[in-house]
């Protein structure tokens, strides 16, 4: 059996969890929230032209792989990133790195990972995990959304690494080649905060950032008329699943960013960040209330107050609150 001593820690979101665990392996203790914030993980975009399960994509986080790349850059660490066409070559490359004692991050389609309980299976092709060993035909897996390390048969892992569909992982694997002995945490945090503000306030696309939240609110209000009641419910269901289930979603990401701002306040000795952390938690609460209204609509238990218009109003409140937070963040750092 080949087993690398790897510090598995459960996290809320796979990519920030994998980054946090890989850095910890290399002796750089980094919380998940810190990795998420430094990596500019927070984002919003409603992309109706990209379909997932034939329904429009909404994202509450940055692009897949973005956190990893930005954390590596801001912490001055070198990362190796490989993509494959041939599944067998991809598995051989993984084995080679494991034999060298290197834990390897892999991007996978979560649906095909056999250790996912059926109730939590969903088609999501950007699920990250770390492979840290091999026992016979089983790989030893640190999947950050699970409390304990898991095992996965080679066949299952290969299928998950080459899952088809939107955001197909194409065998992507990654590992740190070199980490910096000295890290400027304050600079990394400041840079991460500035970029999140820029992305949320100044992305030119009308469907991204806080403008994107307004864009979604306007579209959502029209769904019943445009799509009919049944299809509208499917759209709302997708919006909620992506908010609360896939990778912890809208409210969860806002709470995680609030935790990051708390840590940032301590590192930068800046108490304004503590107040903004509280405001971000409050924004997360509004996102969650939006999802609850949506859940009631989807499940046919909506009261007179639980309407598409009310969901849209909640979204507009989220956008306004977040606008203020990002503007204040830019003023205080």
């Amino acid at each position: 059996m080949l087993k690398i001593e790897f510090p598995h820690k459960q996290s809320s979101h796979c990519e920030s969890g994998v980054v946090s665990n890989l850095l910890s392996f290399h002796g750089i203790a980094t919380s998940e929230a810190l990795a998420f914030g430094i990596g500019t993980g927070l984002f919003f975009a409603y992309l109706p032209f990209i379909k997932l399960n034939k329904l429009p994509l909404t994202t509450y986080r940055c692009e897949a792989g973005g956190i990893l790349k930005r954390v590596a850059k801001r912490l001055d660490c070198k990362i190796n990133w490989q993509k494959f066409r041939d599944p067998h070559k991809a598995m051989a490359a993984l084995d080679e790195k494991l034999a060298m004692g290197i834990p390897v991050g892999c991007r996978t389609g979560a649906y095909w990972l056999p250790y996912f309980p059926p109730a939590f299976r969903f088609h999501f092709n950007a699920h990250n995990l770390v492979v840290y060993g091999k026992d016979g035909q089983d790989y030893l897996i640190s999947d950050p959304v699970f409390p304990n390390p898991e095992r996965c048969a080679a066949k299952g892992l290969m299928k998950a690494r080459f899952s088809q569909g939107a955001l197909a992982p194409k065998g992507v694997m990654f590992y740190f080649e070199q980490v910096s002995p000295e890290i400027d945490w304050a600079a990394a945090i400041t840079s991460g905060i500035k970029e999140v503000c820029r992305r949320m306030l100044k992305t030119p696309l009308p469907m991204a950032g806080t403008r994107g939240i307004h864009f979604l609110a306007d579209r959502l209000e029209q769904w019943p008329k445009k799509l009919g009641p049944e299809r509208s419910k499917l759209y709302v269901g997708q919006l909620i699943r992506m908010q609360e289930e896939i990778g912890t979603g809208g409210a969860g990401f806002r709470f995680m960013y609030a935790a990051f701002l708390q840590e940032a306040a301590a590192v930068l000795s800046n108490t304004v960040l503590l107040e903004l952390s509280r405001k971000m938690t409050a924004a997360g609460d509004i996102w969650r209330e939006t999802a609850v209204i949506g859940a009631r609509i989807c499940k046919g238990r909506a009261s007179a107050k639980d309407t598409y218009a009310e969901m849209a109003n909640h979204l507009r409140t989220c956008a306004r609150e977040e606008d203020r937070i990002y503007e204040q963040l830019l003023e205080c750092i």
Partner: protein, 91 residues
């Protein structure tokens, strides 16, 4: 009523879930403490989980912040009650 103060926590949770999620085919007393909440019997899924999380905060002032907390907490009535009790003690 579900939010009465003299009802044991697990019974209160069962009543809340049945009542607020409008489950008509299962009575609160038919839910056992250790059976999965999100399974065929109750017919609940991840969308309903959003509302369960919201109900826990509304009625018990305990916030389940993310799926890291939600996954283990939402396994059964036993795990949900344990999560609420642990956080009530902490608060």
């Amino acid at each position: 009523m579900a939010n009465g103060t003299d009802i044991p926590l697990k019974e209160k949770l069962k009543a809340l879930i049945v009542e607020e999620l409008r489950i008509t085919h299962v009575a609160p007393q038919e839910i056992t403490d250790d059976e999965p909440i999100f399974a065929d019997k109750l017919g609940l899924d991840s969308i309903d989980a959003v509302e369960v999380v919201y109900l826990v905060e509304k009625y018990f002032d305990v916030k389940i912040k993310d799926m890291k907390e939600a996954r283990p907490a939402l396994q059964s009535i036993n795990t949900l009650a344990a999560f609420i009790e642990a956080h009530c003690l902490r608060n």
